[in-house]
């Protein structure tokens, strides 16, 4: 057992194994569950949680003020009526995509390396979608009437506008949130049972017991479980593509120059995965270190994620080039002006920063040595996250602030409350994340067991 596990044969071309050698069923279970059940909560957890929770209060404050005063609180106004709220919505939704890709598509493709990061990435998805969902609802101005978005037999005698992509968004995002939540929960059931059996205090036994829904681990349970999990993976797979495609339709169906482009769906999906993997790296690199999870989340994972990031980054870069090319090639006055205005207009700083962050920086990922340096990788992920935020800023703001009629041109300046809302959602995101790593197994225990060498059946 001491040397390279024999069952990982086909993966030998890669530098590092999926799990560190020497782990057994018992040690895996012990190590992961002890984070939740036994180990003393480390000081940094309290500090991190407190900080996130304080920032979270900023969100509550902003929302309260928003409900009383209306969305005039934000910097949005004609012509830029979609400011930070929509761009942050797209940003957060995009981040979620890595989780679904890792958990569903990589499962169906039998990529074993996904196992040690999928639970965490799914949690990230869920929490990011929660942040994203808040923006359009708050943007309604009367958030308590958000249920009007759903087609139900209302007293107005009309249906929502089914031809509007904003309507499709409602379905896309709510389906996405539901399927992600179910997938996550179903994946957790066997681990809840493990925690239930290992918990020593009655309240935790009860809590985890309730969540385990009577899981006993019988063959019949496992059989049904695998079936359900696979079905959910099948359901989630198209969502990776559909959700951001529809988010891109919010723009592409509009006739504003810079939005009305057929390239948007693939380019948005790639951007979403790009941003998502950046966020997974951003979070797992410190976490793995702090909890000493190097034997589960190995360098192999880091390399793979970096490669996915590089690949999607190139697609996104291609998107930018094509946008500029078609702007010019269309010969359309407004399209050409739009591209020119992006590069030279009042927001050109954002555009060039975006090119720097999203096209230039990821090129460093070609170099293996840099990919192996976790600090560099972390910083690159940070730059990509910022870059993807800038991308949405450029798309939303530069297109709207100069449309067809010069008389309706204007500038957009996010207000303080735009920023408190954004920072607040970051706080809320991390609050949820800290609670998650403290109370739930952040790595799937039972799935880890299946990829151990011990799980291999000799023929």
């Amino acid at each position: 057992m001491a040397d390279e596990p024999h069952n990982l044969g086909p993966l030998h071309h890669s530098t590092a194994p999926v799990v560190a050698p020497g782990l057994t069923f018992a040690s895996v279970t012990d190590k992961i569950s002890s984070i939740v059940l036994k180990r003393k909560t480390p000081l940094w957890w309290f500090l991190g949680f407190a900080l996130s929770f304080i920032l979270f209060q900023l969100l509550l404050l902003t929302i309260t003020k928003l409900v009383f005063e209306g969305i005039g609180l934000w910097g949005v106004n004609v012509p830029v009526a979609w400011g930070m709220d929509i761009l942050n919505f797209v940003w957060w939704i995009g981040i979620g995509h890595a989780g679904t890709l890792i958990s569903a598509i990589l499962l169906l493709l039998r990529q074993k390396w996904r196992t040690s990061i999928n639970r965490f990435a799914e949690a990230m998805t869920l929490f990011a979608v929660a942040q994203a969902g808040m923006y359009p609802i708050m943007h309604l101005g009367r958030p308590w009437l958000a249920y009007w978005l759903f087609p139900y037999p209302n007293t107005m005698g009309i249906w929502p506008q089914f031809r509007s992509p904003l309507m499709w968004d409602v379905f896309a995002v709510s389906t996405y949130a539901t399927v992600s939540a179910m997938f996550w929960f179903v994946g957790l059931i066997p681990d809840f049972a493990t925690l239930r059996d290992r918990a020593r205090s009655k309240p935790f036994q009860l809590l985890y017991g309730l969540l385990a829904m009577g899981w006993r681990g019988s063959a019949r349970h496992w059989h049904r479980y695998e079936m359900a999990y696979l079905l959910l993976a099948g359901l989630a797979t198209p969502l990776v593509l559909s959700v951001h495609t529809i988010v891109s339709f919010d723009f592409a169906v509009g006739i504003i120059p810079g939005w009305h482009a057929t390239i948007f769906p693939p380019y948005f999906v790639a951007g979403a995965i790009y941003a998502g993997f950046a966020m997974v790296l951003l979070l797992t690199i410190p976490l793995r270190k702090l909890y000493g999870l190097e034997s589960f989340i190995t360098m192999r994972h880091m390399h793979n994620m970096a490669k996915v990031m590089l690949a999607t980054g190139l697609i996104v870069g291609y998107g930018y080039v094509m946008e500029a090319f078609f702007g010019w090639y269309s010969g359309n006055h407004y399209e050409r002006f739009m591209i020119w205005n992006r590069m030279h207009g009042p927001y050109s700083g954002y555009y060039w920063a975006l090119i720097l962050c999203n096209i230039i920086t990821p090129q460093f990922l070609w170099i293996k040595k840099l990919r192996s340096n976790l600090l560099v990788l972390w910083l690159l992920s940070l730059v990509v996250s910022i870059g993807m935020w800038l991308e949405r800023f450029v798309i939303v703001v530069t297109s709207l602030h100069r449309d067809f009629l010069p008389s309706s041109w204007g500038m957009y300046q996010p207000s303080t409350w735009d920023w408190t809302m954004f920072i607040g959602t970051i706080g809320f995101f991390f609050t949820l994340l800290f609670l998650f790593i403290r109370f739930l197994p952040m790595i799937s225990i039972f799935e880890m067991r299946t990829i151990l060498p011990d799980a291999e059946v000799e023929e």
């Binding site: 007293t155 107005m156 005698g157 009309i158 239930r196 009577g214």
Partner: protein
């Protein structure tokens, strides 16, 4: 290891899962019903007025025309409520010392109008106009019910948007000959095929606009 949960909780768990579906559907149904109920719309609710004015007496028994009191109903958006002098035209002579009429006489002496409590009240963001309806053959009773039978006025329709649209989408089911607009006895809705066929011919005759115009949002939300 001892079981944390008793065996029976299995059944309970299943029950909650299935039950949740029914509870959710039931809650939705209750919400939808409450939304249309008179508790929310004020339909059928009789409002006590400062004077015990009865349409049943004045319209049903005495046969006074609506326009005698609601003078602007054919010409303006608002039907208008009668001034105190209108009441005094008759009540100077008849029932001149009825105690029920004391607030009317006081209003007449002081010149301070009677403060009627509104029965129908559309939200301000919805635009309604009486004259167009009355002049295109929509009878008072279609919207207000049999006012001549009301000792106390109440709202006979929900006044919800779906109610307006129910007619704007199919005006032929409701329009009647113009001379019957104030007739409380005339049918409120065209039900049989013949009646609807008549309604259809009236729609053409009165040049009532097609549903796509009548249901466009800016017709009522201006």
């Amino acid at each position: 290891m001892p079981q944390i949960f008793h065996h029976s909780t299995n059944a309970l768990a299943k029950l909650t899962i299935y039950g949740a579906v029914f509870i959710l559907v039931a809650l939705l149904w209750i919400a939808v019903e409450l939304n249309r109920s008179s508790w929310n719309t004020g339909q059928w609710v009789e409002r006590q007025q400062p004077v015990q004015f009865s349409h049943k007496h004045h319209v049903g028994d005495d046969g006074i025309d609506c326009r005698y009191c609601h003078t602007s109903v054919e010409t303006a958006a608002s039907a208008g409520l009668p001034a105190t002098t209108t009441c005094m035209n008759c009540h100077k002579q008849i029932w001149a010392d009825s105690s029920y009429l004391e607030p009317v006489r006081e209003s007449f002496r002081t010149g301070k109008p009677i403060e009627w409590i509104r029965v129908h009240d559309l939200p301000d963001f919805a635009y309604f106009n009486h004259s167009i309806h009355v002049n295109k053959g929509v009878g008072c009773s279609t919207c207000h019910g049999q006012v001549d039978q009301m000792p106390i006025a109440y709202q006979a329709s929900t006044l919800q948007m779906e109610w307006c649209l129910g007619c704007h989408r199919n005006p032929e089911n409701f329009v009647r000959p113009k001379e019957k607009v104030f007739d409380m006895q005339f049918r409120q809705e065209n039900k049989t095929n013949d009646e609807i066929a008549e309604g259809r011919s009236l729609v053409t005759k009165y040049h009532i606009q097609p549903p796509n115009v009548l249901t466009s949002c800016s017709t009522c939300h201006r």
